[in-house]
Amino acid sequence: MAQAQVAAKQSSIGFGKAERKLLTDPLDSNNPVTVQVLGICSALAVTTGMKNALVMAIAVVFVTMFSNMITSALRNSIPKAVRMIVQLIIIATLVTIVELTLKAVAFDSYKQLSVFIGLIITNCIVMGRLEAFAMANGPYKSMLDGIGNGVGYGIILLMVAFVRELFGKGELFGAKIIGNTPEYLLDTTTTWGLGWYANNNLMVLFPSAMFVIGAIIWAHRAWNPSLVDVS
């Protein structure tokens, strides 16, 4: 009787401490980018601007959430021998849905992100969560885990994009914030007193994403020493 009650409690759709942990852990102590160091490829490529990073983050949250849910719902009927292929079909379908939707509603972002939307299929975070979590937990919890990991990835993406767009182009979301005029003259119209700033082209190039991610990982571990690898 007691066991049945516990089981009922576990499968119920509530939002207790355990559920909150599923959502918040990937944002901090188990962040897919800074702690597990997954999904770095797209973090390099799509972080030249905040807008692209935001669209990419939303796309990844959508894919991780639904792929986790669907895989979890099917977990008992998926034949073990072909489970990776089945997971891949689920991910690929969702990514194609994202791609078709973006092409219809946000064509400019679709053009700019080009192949990187398709490459969400190969993003290790997505399949990693399917294997590590969704195959062993219920759909509701898997959904929370998917959202958590997607958002955890998205936050880092936005942080990197913030630094790269601001210091590389002097803009945020395409709107001018700091820096000189296009003719490399002192821009006195900016309100932040930083019209003298010369845009650092290195920030637009891919290597800068590595530097910024490295700095974020360092800051994260300095702030939370329990994350430091002991070797």
Partner: protein, 248 residues
């Protein structure tokens, strides 16, 4: 454990479900996709004259783009000898619709030079009169293309817009993103003083002939050279047409 039959059945059901969902979605959104592609191409054409008109082509709403195209732009297609082609002839070249906007400049580049067809957009709105030409060439990694607007005299550049398939952001992609660089082309002549065709040369290390040369982009020599080559070759294709237009 699952038997082989069960596995096959599972995979079959799964893939047909997925195929059904995706094909429904694809056909459902196809119209929107095509419209978006068309508007994107039209915005790129308007981008060549946006500074002269004082508009920002990339942020124009769809209706306004259509409106400008309907009211101010006359589309024409020419062959390499400078003869005007009828819509039927353009359709015969494989472009449904038969208008200049239907011509795919990257597809044309794969044909032998003598068989190519050239789209041309004649913009006329009050005193603003421009002829917009499309060119295509090679960057460092992949194809680059652009639209070049000429003034009424058919030799001075009024504005340019470039795009690329896979150039590096911050380096080669500057040909699209760097507005100051594109501004250099404005006012350059594609003919020298003697009336010989020169195109516009992109010079590494700085332009020496202010009338028909512009500065290159540091770190993107090959892409910038590609732009120069594209302009020289691409605009030269239009030579016979431009000669005829100047005479009349």
């Amino acid at each position: 454990m699952h038997s082989t039959n069960q596995i096959i059945r599972f995979v079959l059901i799964m893939t047909s479900l997925v195929a059904l969902v995706l094909s429904l979605m694809y056909t459902g959104l196809k119209g929107t996709h095509e419209l978006n592609e068309a508007i994107y191409a039209k915005k790129a054409i308007l981008a060549a004259v946006q500074n002269k008109l004082g508009i920002d082509a990339s942020s124009l709403p769809v209706e306004e783009v259509q409106e400008i195209f309907d009211s101010s732009i006359k589309q024409e297609v020419y062959d390499m000898k400078g003869n005007l082609l009828t819509p039927a002839q353009v359709e015969a070249s494989g472009y449904k619709g038969g208008l200049a906007e239907n011509v795919d400049i990257n597809k044309e580049a794969k044909k032998p030079e003598s068989e190519r067809i050239l789209p041309m957009y004649k913009f006329k709105d009050g005193d603003n009169e421009f002829t917009i030409l499309s060119v295509q060439g090679k960057g460092l990694w992949d194809v680059i293309w652009g639209n070049i607007a000429l003034e009424k005299d058919m030799k001075t550049i009024a504005g340019v817009d470039f795009d690329h398939k896979g150039e590096t952001p911050g380096l080669g992609a500057e040909i699209k993103d760097n507005k100051a660089w594109k501004k250099q082309f404005v006012g350059k002549s594609i003919y020298d003083a003697a009336g010989n065709f020169t195109g516009v040369a992109v010079i590494k290390g700085g332009a020496k002939e202010p009338t028909w040369q512009v500065d290159g982009i540091s770190g993107a020599t090959i892409t910038a050279d590609g732009v120069g080559e594209m302009l020289k070759r691409g605009l030269n294709y239009y030579g016979p047409v431009l000669d005829k237009m100047k005479k009349s």
